[in-house]
Point group: C2
Chain length 364, copies 2
């Protein structure tokens, strides 16, 4: 079992900003990438946070990310833009795209931006929160390397294909952000770094049988030799795994089909880019009614959910976004939990990028 | 165990049309209501088909449905309409609303119609297919009587809250239509009419413990005494039940919050209407690229999914909408399967509405 220590959030932020500049990103880009990456740690989504720095390191140094790429709008209407991302860094591309969707929503009521030849962009909820901060609904999706095995299959054909949705509410915005697989790939990476065993009901081996071996499943995925993660709802149709598969399809359509990009089964195979596809949407819900009244209505319903009767042995019902909000306060005060494997990767990256002087010191 | 027989589709269609006219609906309305109701039987979705006629009978005769209601647009933009349904019959209201969304999408690219004070409308996929037939993306959602217990709760707070999505493809449109619960309420009704036992992982009793007793769960729901159906993903967070709960919230926001209507926990309590809320959306995806190319791209990906490797012991991978398409051909040829309880309800309704002469005769 890997040992966990903690590093200060501020120190890690300063370190990441310098490290990304070390790869050749501008200061503004480095701030953006760091902001998205560490938002995951703040929200307690370890799978998408600093433990994934090594993956970005590999993508940047192997040429999968084009540091100088400028996104190109290939088709545009007042409500929409279809964008070729030209293998730009996912986080900078996606912040730009959500800002474009927000601008269109403010002008026309709805803004939709679909991207082909994009890259891994971190947590989807980061971008939907951008819209919520501007008083809009935010929706965001991405396809990704094939990892989801469709119902009755044994070959990964869809990505984890997360769908995120935010709407302003008091005291915090409602933010739902979920892979359409039972769990995201990053969660397997976390378990692989711990003791290698995953709970039953998450994944299939290369023959389409259930597996609890995180390493085996991840290796199969990388080697494209079969198996993968189950769709939300699990194996077969008994508990409706075909529904998770359907939500993953909805994501695939809004990303790869709308943008004329690569579907998940074809993405992440080229030497010059992951070429994943994204979708960003903003909606000014003032078109439906008085915005303050709608927000109050949502806030009241969220409170009714929190106040509703608990199951035997449970003392709290969460609404989506609450855990992340509370985690943020905790992580800013106490630091980011880090296992030793991740820390050794940070040491290597510090050396590579010339950011050794800002490498955070772990504490208990 | 209830005995199943079959009735001719054409005879059942003629019977339903006459029965609905017997309640006082116009000929056009009766055709519409019948069309939506029996689409469920054609698609093999027994839970939402003729077995539910008794439920509509009760709603119509008890005054929950206002036969003379005319929907009122209370707010409108080129992209949207907010509608007070005034307790009109769900199917006629919803066909009208999806036609309005389609008209807006043809003119402006996107059309969204949100309804308050609506009613049960049958299968969501009926309406999304209407958009697909016009060469558009269709999206449709409805909230409903509270039946979904949020993660860690024991009180039903959200409806089955289905989300449906269609996009044109060859040879048949992609149509995903799924309750965000593990199963819809109608499936419990079907099991209750059989031997009363449901599979594990579907429902909770009044204390928030797992239950396989369909009658007990349904009675608790009707009496609002606790328990209900689990969200997609199951109990707790181990296999991500909080995600199904989140998708149900997305539905609740687009329906009850956008329309300023009743959330599921407050709907279905008034004597004069179910007062559920609906959301209809159409998108002209030509804004993103050449429509024929996008449709071809989707059709090819669907074929790749069908052709992908099967799990040990499986010989087919379905794409969403295929089962319904094949079922339709079978049911038109062989008839609608019917259990004896449903048939006796039809006999009572035939007498009540003066449609005895068109009551279909069951065959083996």
């Amino acid at each position: 079992m890997a040992v966990y220590k903690k590093v200060s959030f501020e120190q890690t932020e300063a370190f990441c900003r310098k490290a990304f500049q070390g790869y050749g990103f501008s200061e503004e880009q480095s701030v953006q990438i760091t902001d998205v990456l560490l938002a995951a740690d703040l929200y307690g989504i370890e799978s998408h946070g600093i433990q994934r720095l090594i993956r970005y390191h590999k993508e940047i140094t192997s040429g999968l990310v084009d540091l100088k790429a400028v996104p190109e709008i290939v088709k545009e209407t007042p409500l929409s833009a279809t964008v070729d991302g030209h293998n730009a860094m996912g986080q900078t591309l996606s912040i730009w795209a959500m800002e474009l969707a927000i601008q269109k929503a403010k002008q026309s009521g709805v803004g939709m931006v679909t991207i082909r030849n994009g890259n891994h962009y971190g947590i989807a909820g980061y971008y939907t929160r951008m819209a919520a901060e501007k008083g809009l609904i935010g929706i965001c999706m991405t396809n990704s390397e094939a990892i989801l095995v469709p119902t009755f299959g044994r070959q990964a054909m869809l990505g984890t294909n997360p769908i995120a949705f935010s709407m302003p509410a008091k005291p915090i915005p409602f933010t739902f952000d979920a892979a359409t697989t039972v769990v995201p790939r990053g969660k397997l990476e976390v378990y692989a770094k711990r003791d290698g065993t995953i709970p039953d009901g998450w994944a299939l081996d290369e023959n389409g049988h259930p597996s609890v071996d995180a390493d085996r499943v991840l290796k199969n995925i990388i080697a494209k030799s079969g198996g993968g993660i189950l769709p939300l709802g699990g194996a077969g149709e008994g508990t409706s795994g075909h529904k998770g598969y359907g939500f993953a399809m909805l994501c695939e359509i809004c990303t790869a089909i709308f943008s004329s990009g690569l579907t998940s089964n074809l993405a992440c195979r080229a030497p010059d880019g992951a070429k994943t596809c994204q979708f960003f949407m903003a909606v000014d819900y003032g078109m439906f009614g008085d915005k303050d009244e709608l927000e109050t209505h949502l806030s009241e319903f969220l409170q009714q959910l929190r106040d509703s009767n608990k199951a035997d042995g449970q003392d709290r019902i969460f609404t989506h976004g609450e855990k992340e909000y509370e985690s943020e306060k905790r992580v800013r005060a106490e630091g980011i939990p880090l296992n030793e494997k991740t820390y050794s990767e940070m040491q290597m990256i510090a050396e590579f990028t010339g950011a050794e002087d800002l490498l955070p010191t772990p504490h208990e």
